[in-house]
Amino acid sequence: MPATETTETRGVAADDRSATARTRRSAPSRGGRRQRTFEQANRRLKWAMLAPAVLFVGLMIVFPLVFTLNLSLTDAFGAVNADSAHIGLRNFGDALGDTRRFWPAARRTLVFTVGAVALETVLGLALAMLMRKPFKGMRWVRTVLIIPLLATPVAIGILWLLILDPTNGIANHLLEAVGLPRQEFLGSVGQSLPTLMLIDVWQWTPMMTLLLLAGLTTLPEEPEEAALMDGANAWQRFRHVILPMLGPTLATALVLRAVDALKTFDLLYATKGAGGGSDFEVETLNVYAYGLTFDYQEYGLAAAVLVLFTLFIIGVVVLLRRRGGRKNA
């Protein structure tokens, strides 16, 4: 029985240690003292080495979190350091009861994330499958692929704002040239969110491709070869052999990208400004919380929205990990 063996082994080890201790007590030697001091120093050195990291985490993560949580329970307005009163969970009630801004923003956050990440995953996987086997010009293609990843979201926002400008932008000139009607793109209340999702897809599909390509290169070739020998066609090999093996990589890529997409701010703010557009058409929870803080100076309510947003992100991550774990089981 392994459990018994372990217990026995532990018993022997404990006996050995007590014997050593008795020997040490009965016959203290210079070498023993030195050994003991070294062990003590080693134990303390461990904490000394950890101290900067613990201090950093404490200052940079725990303190802001606790501060935000505390702020969310106050009626702080105008300035963070102004006099404020603790009002319990009223800010959370106000946020959750706000059907004009909070819930539409939560819905848009979800729509943006699900839509963009789903497209990025499908396209990223397709590209990764195409690039799986070496081909002529592969290096060039990979270099081109990562260009959107290198630009900052604000620069990308401004670039697309110019391209998609309804009056002077090049996109409408191209549409007209091929006989298609002009579009308002980011100037339209209805088209803004889908347009921004497509810009996000343009920027982040390469990252999904690279992550999935890395996963594909680590897969063993034998199962696929066996399936080929059994007469499986390309789709069957992909669906029943490659995809299940790629599961863990896919789940990790999805979680990483989904968390990032949930927090998208720069692109939305650079293209649509404060409040996510004239009809709040691209106002996500992140944009809403920023507006409450910097445009409205309602720090208590903003902190409550951010706490709810954090819980929302944690919920999505847990959900994705559970689903990923179940599939991989």
């Binding site: 000394a48 300035a79 006099d83 400008d165």
Partner: protein
């Protein structure tokens, strides 16, 4: 090994931990410290300003001030949003790393005054050499909050009607009334495909300040007797007019247009009329960005049913950070930059100032196109001293007031949206007053 053991004995470890804590604590305290004595002579005077022709011109002359005050000056130029964000972050932490603050008296001053972030300049402006009475009435009044002078206006702004001289000849010249503007814009939109009779701001919040002149000219105001005025018949008429103007004669995507999007449409020759700040006129005279250099005309704001009532506001002012440790030097800068000599010199470069003496001196107006100088003079005479609600939370107020504008531009029925916005604005004013009193 013995050395390391000795170093990390219990006592040594205690000392090490105490040392780390003390260093971290001292670092944090020095970073957070708001007070302290006078900074060294090497410490620069820090000025944060909007990236505007005024700031650029002052920056070019900053060596003269440095010599006068005997201190280095660090001047940071940012966009309006960046500037507002920086102030929020720095001043919430009682930061001393900004001395002179360029602020929008009508956007931020009430809130900053409420927070105690702007130093009281009442005694300083009383200095005869500064000639405080020389400032125009409306900008000077906007500088006062709760009886204290909190800022000094340096750039003023009124709306100008920019128009295409080549297109209005057969319409009888530039429109003098809002109805003539509507008719002219419609007619010119009809004449040419892909050309727009009118372009202007259409963003929910961004459009409010320009729309204010339409509102006043229809006889309305944002707040009347302390209560919401946006539900009045005059305000509804102004909302409907602006919506019809942009929906019927404006370019596509107008609701996403602020100054940055609307200006190029007119500059590229794709619109006939444009109402926006007179301070931006130089963009249409610059051959690098304008195709209408030869054809642009300037006119006063057209009259509505209640006459022509454009806004005349201090768009940018200078204040001093309460937490600054160089307040005297900061005031010296304001005295220099907003003084009569500098104001006259800048106006000669085409930057409209706030002093009456420079406006009455024909020499300082020589930089402006004569038609524009005349339009500015007339608009200043008729001007109303605010272009947005005078409340603590200007951002939220603009978002509420701007909603019916967007509905109108999108071609929706304005009245139900006005009713809803009016109720929301009334509630907002109650809360805002409560904050003011707290």
């Amino acid at each position: 090994m013995s050395t390391s053991s000795q170093l990390l004995s219990r006592r040594a470890f205690g000392k090490l931990a105490a040392g780390v804590a003390a260093t971290a604590g001292a670092g944090a305290l020095s970073a957070c410290a708001g007070g302290g004595g006078k900074p060294s002579a090497d410490a620069p005077l820090r000025i944060m300003a909007i990236n505007h022709v005024w700031s650029q011109a002052v920056k070019r002359s900053i060596a003269e001030f440095e010599e006068r005050v005997g201190r280095r000056v660090s001047m940071t130029l940012l966009t309006a949003d960046q500037l507002a964000g920086s102030y929020n972050v720095k001043l919430n932490a009682s930061g001393t790393d900004v001395d002179v603050m360029m602020v929008r008296a009508l956007q931020e001053q009430l809130l900053f005054g409420h927070n105690g972030w702007l130093a009281d300049l009442s005694d300083r402006v009383a200095d005869d050499r500064f000639a405080w009475d020389d400032f125009q009435d409306a900008p000077r009044e906007a500088s006062v909050t709760a009886g204290k002078v909190l800022s000094v206006p340096v750039v003023t702004e009124r709306p100008a009607l920019y128009y295409r001289k080549d297109l209005v000849a057969d319409l009888g010249g530039p429109p003098r009334t809002l109805e003539a503007l509507m008719e002219g814009a419609r007619e010119l939109t009809r004449r040419k495909d892909g050309f727009y009779g009118y372009v202007g701001r259409g963003q929910r919040s961004g459009a409010v300040s320009q729309w204010s002149s339409f509102l006043y000219s229809y006889g309305g105001d944002f707040v009347v007797d302390g209560k919401s005025g946006i539900g009045s018949a005059e305000a509804v008429a102004a909302y409907e007019y602006y919506g019809r103007l942009l929906a019927g004669s404006g370019p596509p995507g107008a609701t996403n247009m602020s100054l940055e999007q609307a200006l190029p449409v007119f500059a590229q020759g794709k619109a006939a009329f444009f109402v926006d700040a007179d301070a931006i006129y130089s963009s249409f005279l610059d051959p690098k960005v304008s195709r209408v250099r030869e054809t642009v005309g300037f006119a006063p704001f057209p009259a509505g049913p209640a006459g022509a009532k454009p806004h005349n506001i201090p768009s940018w002012s200078l204040g001093i950070n309460t937490f600054s440790r160089l307040r005297d030097e900061a005031w010296e800068f304001i005295r220099w930059a907003a003084g009569p000599e500098m104001s006259a010199a800048l106006q000669k470069e085409g930057i409209p100032g706030a002093r009456t003496s420079v406006w009455s001196d024909p020499k300082t107006l020589s930089a402006f196109p004569p038609q524009l100088a005349e339009a500015m003079r007339i608009n200043a005479e008729r001007g109303v001293g605010h272009d947005r609600p005078r409340v603590l939370q200007v951002g939220r107020a603009r978002d509420i007031v701007g909603r019916p504008l967007v509905a109108g531009i999108l071609g929706q029925s304005v009245r139900p949206v006005v009713r809803d916005a009016d109720a929301e604005f009334a509630d907002f004013l109650v809360r805002d007053n409560r904050h003011k009193e707290s």
